[in-house]
Subunit: 508 residues, 2 copies
């Protein structure tokens, strides 16, 4: 499918390309170092370390920014404007040019003001959520909306500012395609959840109730990772309050968290992060610290985590494989059947208000509510003071439930306090992409389901490596999906998947 | 004793000084970030991470080097040549000027050649040690000697090259003073160890024989750290193959190691690293990333670790405090008395050939042998091929024992494979300084011994903080010792200490 790497031998490259690549490697190496510091901060650092760590991170960030926006970068890009480049070289130049132009367009003072506002807004958000008082957070949200509109204007005054912000997270996916996918999701899921609410299906939801000690859950998480093939010589499993993945093709580490009443949560979260890690670990090593050795953007990354979490980890086949291990760790569940486990991990929480506790279906409506509201805020179609009511109305309309408090409503997530507008949709887009990729993998791999049940993930790993991981940032998002699946990126595979799966589970 | 910090208000500083300080903070912050990566590499990183980590570290090192040797640094230093500076400002300029001049004098190519030679030499040393064949390492040692002589010549062609190399580790201590101290050590210790060998004292050396599980030793190490007052909110205890300390005044971490047959080794090693950590944690916070917030050089650092390891951790008073905790962890030692413990931790291994397994006395002769040989190598007074015989002869002369093999002889330590000549003496100098500082602390703190037995370390911590830690690199080494103790740095306190202590223990 891909053109041949051998034809892209770097020795044929123009000198300016080699010089540019040297610069890029240097700033990406600084970014990679900062990544290690970030991991350490969340997983290992004692609390007293914050003052030095903040300075270390801001200094590395500023050094990296200076390297990207240096005139020399611009000069080399200019020199490559009409150069005769291979496809791979052109892809590298495309990626670098975008970073350069964006870095160059936004004044450092504005970046710093956003960063300072984030620190204040984070504290205000924490207090507002604790006090359940949106008004205490509103001025900071207002400030962030203003600053981010200005930020978008600096980059391109002629385009929809939400589109510009969205491109910070998804530079290679059109906002129109993203919106079309989210619209289709909403249209499919709202009536489906309504039908599930009305359904009298009786799922085995209490199979995994009880107390599951943390150290046993940790051992189980390691066993799950061994089963799916995590390479502990190139990674680690640790604990942090918010699970995350950090690293590169040589060393990619994951974290998870434990709730003694929810062992399935830890399993799901661990497999989710594993999917992220496999992507990074599958990037080409020789291209490390260049765009060809870096992952595509957030939705593609999330597609890898969701594919493992949902399409593997929530399948009957996986529980055929994993239930005996689970039961050995937790003998209290020895009577559970594979079907019990399957129903428990796939139950729909139709009365849940909290995104991070949501299931595979309602999850997307949580996302869509915030997406629609932040888009309207940035476009100037909604005032900050009207956010709580808009939020609650949408929950009622899409999910059939209405939050009683802002803490359970629009204050539940941290992202706006960082000024991150345009980030949220990537969660849903990633899940949708996971379904499309998994459908293609199922078509190409004989008996994939049986292989999962046998713990034989080799073909699936190879398929993902071949079609996604090894390309790094070579292709733009839709092109990557098209090359892997033969179709443009759309919601079709996802809606087919949930209709079949939940139709059967809930008899709808 | 020190001049007042308030008088040194930075607002009075010339503009060039402020600009210089900004630059210094930036490059030291990069150095601090690299320190975190180094810690991670030794403690947390999976083995596969090496290729990316090596690049991250070399890139940060090169960025830092470029900042230090930038013309702008030189211009600012020139501008401050005759400026009216406070004592503190002058100290900062002195420290920065030395780094600038040294960085500027040595060609980058030479630094890289030394670094490459180190990688090759490390591998050759490992093989030579395993095969017990000095000849396999000799060409690399030869190369290192040549390169380091060239390095010294680049810095100052008119001075003794060993002196120049020594200053990489001890820039603020004269080689003459260092040599005089080492000579006095040798003259005191050689006859003392001879007398101990002849002595018929019968120390209780088998009190702590047996098996001591690692997890219990780790718990005991934490208890020891709690007793001496390590602040776990600003540090961590982990395990690594070579114990070390890493960090700053906000976050300073230590590692230790365990040998199931040697619980005293872990206790000693943990307390040793704790001493290093206390120094860093006691540096002034507001001066972080500047010379006033960075520790003085290796011998002063080692004085802090040795003070805690030897003068506290090997005292009768400490074992009065700690033995009950030890016995609770390891009930098999319940019959041991404080005197038994004291004798066990202070026994002299007069037939031991290995530095890292040496006791408080013989240790220094291991150091002195390598010091004398490396000094002669660098000065051109000894040929590489003659090293094994010179080594063995000196062991026979100083320690009364002769290695049968080079693995137990001149190949035992890693340092020469890194090209580190001039580093070794700092180990001994630090121990000597520890004795001088502890003697002064004992004079100034009423009943220090009783306080140690009571677990009351407050006055000792305060004394060290006041006289050593808070000064950062403000004073040169001898001046720091003089301010703290009233005397020039010498071996006198150390020889008094060992003569009294070991005279009593061995009846000599």
């Amino acid at each position: 499918m891909a053109t041949e790497a051998a034809a892209d031998d770097a020795t044929d490259a123009p000198e300016a390309y080699e010089d540019l690549l040297d610069r890029v490697r240097r700033w990406n190496t600084v970014g990679s170092a900062a990544g290690v510091l970030g991991w350490d901060q969340q997983v290992m650092m004692p609390e007293g370390g914050t003052p030095a760590r903040s300075k270390e991170l801001s200094t590395l960030s500023s050094i990296r920014h200076d390297m990207i926006t240096d005139d020399e970068t611009g000069d080399l890009l200019d020199a490559l404007d009409d150069a005769d480049l291979t496809d791979e070289q052109a892809a590298v130049v495309r990626e670098v040019r975008r970073d350069y132009e964006r870095g160059d367009a936004v004044p450092v003072e504005l970046v710093e003001e956003i960063s300072e506002t984030s620190s204040e807004a984070l504290q205000a958000w924490e207090e507002a959520r604790a006090e359940d008082e949106f008004e205490a957070f509103a001025p900071y949200l207002e400030k962030h909306v203003e600053l981010k509109r200005e930020y978008a204007e600096q980059i391109d005054p002629d385009r929809d500012p939400y589109e510009v912000l969205f491109e910070d997270y998804e530079p290679c996916l059109s906002i129109d395609r993203a919106e079309a996918i989210l619209d289709e999701l909403r249209e499919t899921l709202v009536p489906m959840i309504d039908a599930i609410r009305e359904s009298d299906a009786d799922l085995a939801v209490d199979t995994f109730e009880g107390t599951f000690p943390e150290d046993e859950q940790e051992a189980l998480s390691r066993e799950a990772l061994e089963l799916v093939g995590y390479d502990f010589d190139r990674g680690r499993l640790d604990v942090s309050s918010h699970p995350f993945t950090s690293g590169n093709q040589f060393d990619c580490r994951i974290t998870t968290r434990f709730d003694e009443s929810d062992p399935l949560g830890a399993v799901g979260s661990t497999i989710h992060e594993y999917g992220h890690a496999q992507y990074n670990l599958g990037l080409p090593r020789e291209a490390w610290a260049t765009p060809l050795g870096e992952s595509r953007d957030l939705s593609v990354h999330e597609s890898q985590s969701r594919l493992w979490e949902n399409h593997v980890g929530r399948s009957r086949a996986f529980w055929e494989l994993f239930l005996p291990t689970f039961q050995e760790r937790f003998p209290q569940t020895e009577d559970a059947t594979v079907e019990d486990a399957y129903e428990a991990v796939n139950q729909v929480y139709e009365d849940n208000l909290i995104r991070v506790e949501a299931d595979e279906l309602t999850y997307h409506l949580h996302i869509i509510v915030r997406f629609e509201i932040e888009r309207d805020l940035i476009r100037g179609d909604l005032a900050v003071e009207d956010v709580p009511e808009a939020w609650n109305d949408k929950y009622e309309e899409y999910l059939g439930i209405r939050p009683d408090t802002d803490s359970e409503g629009c204050l539940q997530d941290i992202h706006w306090s960082h000024g991150n507008f345009g980030y949220f949709p990537t969660y849903s887009l990633g899940s949708v992409m996971a379904a499309q990729l998994y459908e293609a993998a199922e078509e190409e791999i004989d008996g994939l389901d049986a292989k999962v049940a046998d713990g034989d993930f080799e073909d699936l790993q190879a398929w993902l490596g071949e079609n996604v991981h090894r390309h790094g940032s070579r292709y733009e998002t839709n092109e990557l999906v098209r090359q892997a699946t033969g179709d443009d990126f759309s919601a079709e595979a996802f809606t087919d998947y949930v209709e079949e799966k939940y139709g059967e589970l809930y008899g709808i």
